[in-house]
Symmetry: C2
Subunit: 652 residues, 2 copies
């Protein structure tokens, strides 16, 4: 029988967990512990307020190297009427930090003193003269750090629930503590389950899934102040999972059971939680991350358990949504609240009305506007989280937003990082990876989302990008990009800068088992082709080549199946998903494919003139003129950097 | 002979260090190391780009629980014209993540299938029927995660110089790595010097300085990605310091010598650096932190050394200014760039024109305005850094700014924390500490700077605070605050809410050795008094009491010496700096002083009406009505919370 999951709204799911925690007496700091006051305390959280034990300074302390004196005895001293003070009785040498003698109430800095002998001559040791002569009167308590200047015994120095920073440790030590009462780190067991899983570092055969969700979750827990325990992979066996979960609950504050949370043939997590305690939630109306399980396990000592979905994006978001607030509560701190930013959505996005939909977005500050470009929504695409600058949540009840909508984005990076991000939309090229790598050395990020060449020009028109990569062939002239810019960007002043020349051709499997000779073969019915998305320069090139050869696109099997990058098109051929595809030589080489070269093309960067002088893009222009970078690009097969950095045209 | 320090501008000092590092070949990543791919890698920095070893998925993977089929064989299937597919030949059950059989190119979800037996009856096991009947046609590659969907072998996954986050670890594992090439953590030796120093936890006698700069610096280095070694305290002995520094340089990348960097009688750091190598800088034009030393020590393997000034604020800022950028460079990452915010300065601030002056400020967002209130500028006052929300730098060449100036603040807290900060300026009361402690449980910070009661009202008038604590006695009426509000805030609608009743009186040392009976004694010439600052409610009360007793303020010894809080005034009496002071009973009790009660007064919060409904202040009102909080306040000696939360008056 097929089991269906619930669709519990997120607030309701969190509420059920909350009630269960309250009932179990686990809704606040789990335990306190005394930790030594040293550098490892940075990031720990105070579990009690810290009051000053002693004052700081704990005595009247000289703030200067000089002589402690009685202020009253300096009265009337001036340039013309110097005053002499006798050492020991009226003056005493003090270094900075030394206590004042009980009779003194001020310090004269050594530079303002003439140290002399009884006979009026200058003393040999300026710190041990017979007398000092002064020409300035010193008010009481001048150049003295009075007791309690910094902290007075009994005052509040650090509140509880405070995340300790380096300077806090100094203040805590300075008022007489050498230990800190901190919230104990919540212990979290992470149990990956699945017969198909393999540990990292093992050879991966088809069907093997490299188990890394436990590493991501352990990293999150570590970063959020918990103490993760990663269990070895447990195979899909009900009783093995049951006993391991039970054992983990005995020694941990929270148990995360990875995968097996859906309703497939080997999904045991819900049953395990049910058998060991109470299943509170099975299926939450969030996306990605729907098949989440929440329960409490154990008899007397009830321990929360979360069944974490197996797709990596779902797993990481389940950590953010369910685990982080739990750790925050147990640590006595506020839940992390990411910075939010309002941004303009680059394209229409639809969403199931029943779910809170977590959409990963790239964020860029382009001129005065903040832009959010939705990334891949696949829950298996962890790189969408790696590349994400933030998350946009489409709430339950909404079916999505149109392009141009102002949306709230929860940032994964600081607004400063966003400000240092060069936002490139348009055609994909491997050189952009290399460019990103080199730009990071200049304190810049290159965030590029792949929209195809035409998509890039449209993005520029809307003010959505700092630059667009483009390789649009004009069959009439044989020239690249220029006529398209005239058509699509009639009102936007831009410059066109050559990035790289590259070779386009057909990907074919090693040894050419299908005997493909060229474009004319693409309509062979037994072959399968894979195309690029609409608006991609490579697709426009294909249409031109098909036309030249008199091949009807409708006759090309697979013409309607689309990939978004050269590398994924090449991967489709390498994996046997397609027999051939059009793309650049570098992608063929990267995946050990054979290659039939067809065209030499120019790949340009189209840059609005208003960004030409922008400090943000300056390192980009530096790199385009850099011989080292040119050489690095030239080493990629099929790449010709000879024109790199040349201004092909300026439209103003 | 007195040695004077240099006044080298900061950029010049950094430049000298930079040149020396370049010469020594130490201006980039120091070393790379292979680290395991686990949760401890979070925060480490990649020393090389990470390219995908394998694709992810590395095979065509089912995205659903269902049946793998040939898309073409589902053509034409519809509600009315179902298609039957034979298991094994035409359909094969797959769980999510399973590889597709080589002949299949699509998956039909199990929910969309009728699993049947040869005889047309429903199969008992829905995953192992004889046939499946389908009423929908499935396009090629539907519900399949094709090989490379997430990452394609050879693509850039993570650039070098990237600070690893949990999700990055997943991506790195997913593309076939199990180790990471990371920048080695720079090893930093921290050598505290000074005969006057004691370790934390030891009893502190006058003249003993609790050594905590090494903890603060170690915490900074830890937080910035280095590996600190804290050496034990070295006494002020030239050859001992010399040999320890030499030893440390042999096993570390950077040596920090704490204190001894000035020109006092026991300041050996410059000589030590000079003897072991090259002294590059001795004295930098920054404040606090002037007596910084920079040098390179060692013969073949030159190691930078920094002499860190002994005052704690100077030491922490030296870490930020000199150590952090060095670690960043050695780790191959960008230096940390704190968020900046423009803020309005609450008061005039002067600065020596020759120095870059680092002024600690409290920052609050009050209505639409961001406010920066300068905190204590003493380089010994580490609590000024603890309390600081940011740093405002007054550059060399400027002598300061007037009140109301728009200044740039480098934030120590996130803009979100600033937004959650209730900004209180005005009179100081111990209850505010308790309030701060309780507010933190509601996700609010209370940032209070002490300006005295009148200063608080003026701050409200200028829109510089969310609320002001005030206890201003009107001698004519015997009432508190109301007449002052009428005078000082004629145009600002405010409410006056009682916080606490408290007892004011004279602090005297235990046993009353000076035989002080009351206000009438304050003009005894052998006594010393300590006053509060102008505008403080307590000073206004003093003036009233002196007038009543017919005592001339000019006859009170110490009338012109000012303290800013009850606790520091009490500390002045406790330490013998003064014989008596006027202040609240709670401060006397905190420091074990005797106390002569003189007045019962009311301490109110004055709150502009526009903040009454503000979500930010809501927890404050909650607390003012909370019995638990009332009880906690009532436990402080001399505090009467009976009126707490009562609205005394509304001016609108």
């Amino acid at each position: 029988m097929t089991v269906y999951l619930d669709d519990i709204p997120l607030p309701e799911a969190l509420q059920r967990l909350d009630s269960a925690l309250v009932k179990a007496g686990k809704d606040s700091i789990l335990r306190e512990e005394e930790i030594p006051l040293d550098e490892k305390a940075v990031g720990r959280i105070t579990a009690a307020p810290i009051w000053a034990e002693i004052s700081s300074p704990h005595y009247h302390s000289s703030a200067m190297d000089g002589f402690a004196v009685r202020s009253a005895e300096t009265d009337g001293a001036s340039e013309t009427v110097p005053v002499k003070l006798k050492m020991d009785d009226q003056a005493s040498y003090v270094d900075t930090g030394d206590p004042l003698p009980p009779w003194a109430n001020a310090v004269i800095p050594i530079e303002q003193v003439e140290p002399i002998q009884e006979d009026g001559s200058l003393a040999e040791n300026p710190r041990a003269p017979d007398l000092i002569r002064i020409r300035i009167s010193i008010p009481p308590w001048k150049n003295v750090r009075p007791m309690g200047e910094d902290m007075v015994a009994s005052q509040l120095v650090i509140p509880s629930g405070h995340i300790l920073r380096p300077v806090d440790l100094g203040a805590i030590a300075g008022c007489g503590h050498h230990r800190i009462t901190a919230a104990g780190k919540p212990r979290v067991a992470i149990i990956p389950t699945g017969t198909e899983l393999i540990e990292i570092g093992q050879p991966a055969f088809p069907g093997d899934i490299i188990e890394y969700n436990s590493i991501v979750l352990a990293g999150q827990i570590e970063a959020w102040g918990g103490e993760p325990t990663r269990y070895p992979i447990t195979e899909d066996d009900y009783s093995t999972i049951l006993s391991r979960v039970e054992e983990a609950a005995g020694s941990h504050d929270l148990v995360l059971i990875l995968a097996g949370s859906s309703a497939g043939s080997e999904d045991y997590t819900a049953d395990v939680v049910n058998e060991l305690g109470d299943l509170l939630v099975h299926g939450v109306a969030v996306r990605p991350g729907h098949p989440v399980i929440v329960g409490m396990i154990g008899e007397e000592n009830k321990v929360p358990a979360v069944g974490v979905p197996g797709f990596p994006v779902s797993a990481a978001l389940t950590g953010e949504i369910f685990v982080e607030p739990l750790l925050a509560r147990w640590l006595g701190r506020s839940p992390r609240k990411p910075a939010e930013l309002e941004a303009t959505l680059t394209r229409k996005i639809t969403s199931p009305a029943g779910d809170d939909d977590y959409v990963r977005v790239a964020v860029g500050e382009v001129g005065e506007r903040v832009i959010a470009a939705p990334l891949s929504r696949g829950s298996g695409v962890i790189t969408s989280l790696v590349r994400a600058d933030g998350i946009m949540i489409i709430p339950r009840g909404s079916q999505g937003y149109p392009a141009g909508e102002r949306v709230q984005v929860r940032l994964y990076r600081s607004p400063e990082e966003i400000r240092k991000t060069i936002f490139a939309l348009g055609s994909h090229d491997l050189t952009l990876d290399l460019l990103a790598q080199h730009l990071s050395g200049f304190g810049r990020r290159l965030s590029s989302a792949n929209l195809g060449s035409l998509g890039g020009l449209r993005a520029l028109k809307r003010g959505h990008a700092h630059l667009a990569g483009s390789h649009l062939l004009d069959p009439a002239s044989g020239e690249y990009n220029l006529s398209y810019i005239e058509t699509y960007l009639p009102d936007l002043p831009v410059m066109v800068v050559a990035l790289v020349g590259r070779v386009q051709g057909l990907f074919i499997r090693e040894g050419n088992p299908e005997g493909i000779e060229g474009i004319a073969d693409l309509n062979r019915p037994e072959l399968s082709f894979i195309n690029r998305q609409r608006g991609a320069g490579t697709r426009i090139l294909l249409d031109y080549l098909l036309q030249q050869e008199g091949v009807d696109p409708g006759d090309v099997p697979g013409y309607d199946i689309e990939e978004y990058t050269h590398l994924t098109a090449a991967a489709a051929v390498a994996s046997g998903r397609a027999d051939t595809a059009l793309g650049i030589q570098a992608a063929a080489e990267a995946l050990d494919l054979d290659f039939i070269p067809l065209e030499h093309e120019r790949y340009d960067l189209v840059i609005p003139l208003k960004f030409r002088e922008d400090d943000l893009l300056e390192p980009l222009f530096t790199l385009l003129g850099d011989q080292g970078f040119k050489r690095a690009v030239g080493e990629i097969p099929g790449y010709d950097p000879s024109l790199m950095g040349e201004v092909i045209a300026v439209f103003d």
